[in-house]
């Protein structure tokens, strides 16, 4: 004689919930999910939280003192030479100063060209 399968209750369902969220449920668990609004909402919420978390982007930059601290430490350990100017490692002109130099050089070159 055909025997009806025991129906899974919420407590049993929620006990195996971590596995269901990760890899889906078996037929019995899926059946419970279709019939139970509370468990269905719970699964929907947990999946939604996981999905939203994946969309979180890095939003904030560290303060400039982090880079200053890195330079100070590298100098102290002898891995980098002392900076000539604040915020720069030795041997490399900063981009603004390089730009100004190139601008002056270009202006001088143009000036000389016009004089000739």
């Amino acid at each position: 004689m055909f025997q009806r399968e025991e129906v899974m209750n919420c407590a049993e369902f929620q006990k195996v919930l971590p596995y269901i969220i990760e890899s889906g449920g078996n037929a019995e668990e899926e059946a419970h999910l279709r019939e139970c609004d509370v468990c269905s909402d719970l699964v929907q919420d947990l999946r939604y939280i996981a999905e939203q978390a994946k969309l979180l982007l890095p939003m904030h930059d560290p303060s400039p003192k982090v880079w200053d601290g890195i330079q100070e430490n590298l100098q102290r350990e002898g891995l980098a030479k002392p900076a000539r100017a604040r915020g720069r490692l030795l041997g490399f002109p900063s981009l603004p100063s390089l730009s100004i130099f190139l601008l002056l050089f270009a202006a001088a070159a143009v000036g000389f060209g016009l004089l000739k």
Partner: protein, 190 residues
């Protein structure tokens, strides 16, 4: 200059290229540290430490994985080391997959509430993550935000894969509670 060129030059001690790499990756490394610790000052110290280690170790980068993957793993290890030194609980090694009473799912059938879908924004979620207990927060950040697999988390944290899964589930359950409470409080104010 491409990132690959900057990495090659930084390996040879090129300071400008190292600064370029810092500029490219500082935001993500800092965000990782901030989300894992929930503390701005600690996150800044750890970001600094991660990049100092990068400077010392960059010559060992062989390109077997993406540079960002390698750097973020390095940063995670810096944070975990810091938390161990501080003696903060990460994950209890005795944890099992059995749900605990206080953190387990509610069995209050009939207490159906609106689902969260569409009702949480980034700010609320970030705030809720910040208020998670440290052990839950770390696993949640590593798995759901940073995309590490349970086997990788287990290896990094020295716990079992089952433990990592269990903690993640509890973290999501706790977040659900926090987000629902926050939503209810907002609704009550209106």
């Amino acid at each position: 200059m491409s990132e690959a060129e900057a990495i090659d030059r930084a390996k040879q001690g090129d300071a400008v290229c190292f600064e370029l790499l810092y500029g490219l990756h500082k935001r993500r490394v800092y965000s990782l540290c901030l989300r894992m610790t929930g503390n701005t000052a600690e996150a800044e110290d750890l970001t600094q430490e991660a990049f100092l280690q990068l400077y010392r170790k960059i010559a060992t980068f062989r390109g077997e994985s993406a540079f960002s993957t390698w750097l973020h793993r390095l940063a995670v290890n810096v944070v975990l080391m810091h938390l161990r030194k501080k003696g903060l609980p990460e994950v209890s090694l005795e944890e099992t997959m059995e749900p605990q009473q206080e953190d387990g799912p509610r069995k209050d059938i009939g207490a159906r509430d609106n689902v969260l879908a569409g009702s949480i924004d980034r700010v609320n979620l970030e705030r809720a993550i910040e208020s998670l207990p440290p052990g839950y927060r770390i696993i949640f950040v590593l798995h759901d935000i940073e995309g590490y697999e349970h086997n990788e988390i287990a290896e990094m944290m020295g716990c079992s894969i089952g433990n990592s899964k269990s903690q993640l589930h509890k973290a999501r359950m706790k977040l659900r509670d926090l987000l629902k409470t926050s939503r209810a409080e907002k609704a009550a104010k209106r």
